[in-house]
Symmetry: C2
C-alpha cells in the first residue's frame, strides 16, 4: 500500500491526527526499564501497546538510537509495529540529504534496512538529492519546509522575489518533486501563520507538524490553519509530552492518558 493511503486509513481508523515521537532516552526512562536486555525496545513496546489505537503514526527519531548504538532496537521497534499494528505507518525521522550516490545509500538505510514507511529529508541540497528517496514510490518522503525552532528563520525565511525560501520549497514539493505523489512536508506548529500559507500552497498534501507540547505550539491555531479539505491532512507529533508523561512503572498508562488528551483536544477543534 502507498504511504499516503496507509496514512489516510490510520487517520480514519483511530480518528486521530496524533503521531507519537519515539525519541527514547534511557536517562529519562523509568529505572525498572533498565533491567531489560533491550531496554530501549521494551520502553517503546510498552508505549506502542498503550497508544496504538490513538495514533495515526509513530515516528522514531534515529539520532536517539545511533548516538547509543541502538540500531538493533530501532529495527526491533519498527518491526514490532509492522507485525502487531500493521495499519499504523512508521516515519523514520532522519532528516537525511546528500548527492545522488550517497542519498541512494540513505534511502536504502531508511527503507530497506529499517523498513520505514516514510522518512524525513532535508531540501538544502536540492531536488536531485531527493530523487533517490522519491523513487521508492510506495514510501513517503517528508521534506523539511518551515521548521518549528526559532533558528529556522535563518534560511527558511529569506525571501527571493517576494517569496520566502520555505514557500519556494513548498511549491517545488507539490510540483516537480511530487511526480510519484509521495511527497509530504514538515511545518512546525510554532508558526501557525506559515502553516496556513503552506496549506494554501500545497492543497491536500499531508503535513508533518512537530512543535506541539514541549516546544510550545498552540493546538487550536495549528488545527485551524493546517487541516486539509477533508478535515484531516496533518500528522501532529508529540514526543516528550507523551513518552515521558509519567516517570514510574505506570509510564505507559501515563503516555496513553497524554496521547488521548492530545487527540481529543485536536479533535475538538476539527
Amino acid at each position: 500500500m502507498r504511504f499516503k493511503e496507509k496514512l489516510k486509513k490510520a487517520w480514519l481508523k483511530n480518528n486521530s491526527l496524533i503521531c507519537v515521537g519515539l525519541d527514547t532516552e534511557l536517562e529519562k526512562a523509568p529505572p525498572h526499564i533498565l533491567e531489560d536486555v533491550y531496554p530501549i525496545f521494551n520502553f517503546n513496546k510498552e508505549i506502542i501497546d498503550a497508544t496504538a489505537d490513538l495514533v495515526c503514526a509513530y515516528k522514531p527519531q534515529i539520532a536517539y538510537y545511533s548516538a547509543v548504538g541502538g540500531e538493533k532496537e530501532l529495527l526491533m521497534t519498527i518491526e514490532y509495529i509492522h507485525e502487531n499494528y500493521p495499519d499504523i505507518p512508521v516515519i523514520l525521522d532522519a532528516k537525511r540529504g546528500d548527492i545522488g550516490a550517497t542519498a541512494k545509500m540513505y534511502a536504502r538505510e531508511a527503507f530497506e534496512r529499517y523498513l520505514a514507511d516514510a522518512v524525513t529529508v532535508n531540501p538544502y541540497m536540492g531536488g536531485d538529492t531527493l530523487e533517490p528517496f522519491l523513487s521508492y514510490e510506495d514510501r513517503g518522503v517528508i521534506i523539511l519546509c518551515r521548521t518549528s525552532n526559532p533558528g529556522g528563520a535563518d534560511v527558511q525565511m529569506l525571501s527571493d522575489s517576494g517569496k520566502a525560501v520555505y514557500e519556494i520549497v513548498a511549491e517545488k514539493a507539490c510540483g516537480e518533486w511530487n511526480k510519484h505523489d509521495n511527497v509530504l512536508l514538515v511545518v512546525g506548529a510554532t508558526y501557525p501563520e506559515e502553516l496556513g500559507v503552506v496549506r494554501r500552497l500545497v492543497g491536500d498534501m499531508p503535513l508533518l507538524v512537530p512543535g506541539i507540547g514541549a516546544q510550545g505550539g498552540d493546538v487550536e491555531k495549528t488545527v485551524a490553519n493546517g487541516l486539509d479539505s477533508e478535515g484531516m491532512g496533518m500528522i501532529i507529533n508529540s514526543s516528550r509530552g507523551i513518552i515521558y508523561a509519567g516517570g514510574g512503572r505506570d509510564f505507559a498508562e501515563a503516555a496513553r492518558v497524554s496521547a488521548q488528551k492530545l487527540r481529543d483536544e485536536v479533535n475538538s477543534y476539527r
Copy 2:
C-alpha cells in the same frame, strides 16, 4: 588539539590538500576483500595504509556504513586512523541537522561514538540547530554552503536582497556561528566562481571541497579560486576516483597512484 590546528599540521606535514573519501561499497571492492571477516574495514585499512603520507584528511561517508549495518567497521576505521596516523584528522560526512535536543544526540553520535575530529552539518534549520555541534570546541563543524550537485541551486542560489542563500550562510558561518572558531564550509569544486565568492567572504576559513574527479570539477580553477592567504585552506576530497582506481588485488597501490597524482596536480597550481 583543536581541529583547525590538526588540519593545518596535516596540510604541512604531507604537503597535501587532498582528502580521501571512504565511501566504501563492497559491490565495488575487489572480490578477495569479501573473504575478510570485516571486509569494509579491511578495504579501508589497505587504502589508508597506502595513502596516509599523501593526504590531509580522511572522510568516511556514514551512509555507506549505515545502509549495510556497518557501524562497527566505521568505528574500527576511525580508530585505526587515530591509532596509526594520529596526525591525520577524520571528518565524518553525515550532513546532520535537527532541533537542539536531537542535534545533541547527532553530535554525540559523531564526536563521542565515532570519535570524529569533524562532522558535516546542514544549515537549513538554522543557527540554533548547529549549536550542539559547535559547543564541542575542539572539533570541526563543516557546514554545507554551496554544494557540488546541479540541484544545489534550488535553494542555495535563491537570492535575498541581492545576496544568494549560500552567501548568507557563508557570512553567518564566519560571523555569529563561529564564536568558538571551529566552523568550516562545504563548497563544491564544480562551481569555482562561487568558491571564489565564498573565499572572499570568509577570509582564511578552511573549505571542504568535493566535486573533483567523478563529479567533474576542474582542479586548476578550484585551486585558483579556493586557496587561502597561505596557499592552503582547502580539503579537496576525492572518493571514487581514488578508492576504486584499481579493481584487483592491487587496488590499494592503484589508490596510492591516484592520490599522489591528484596531490601533485593540485600542488602544481598552488
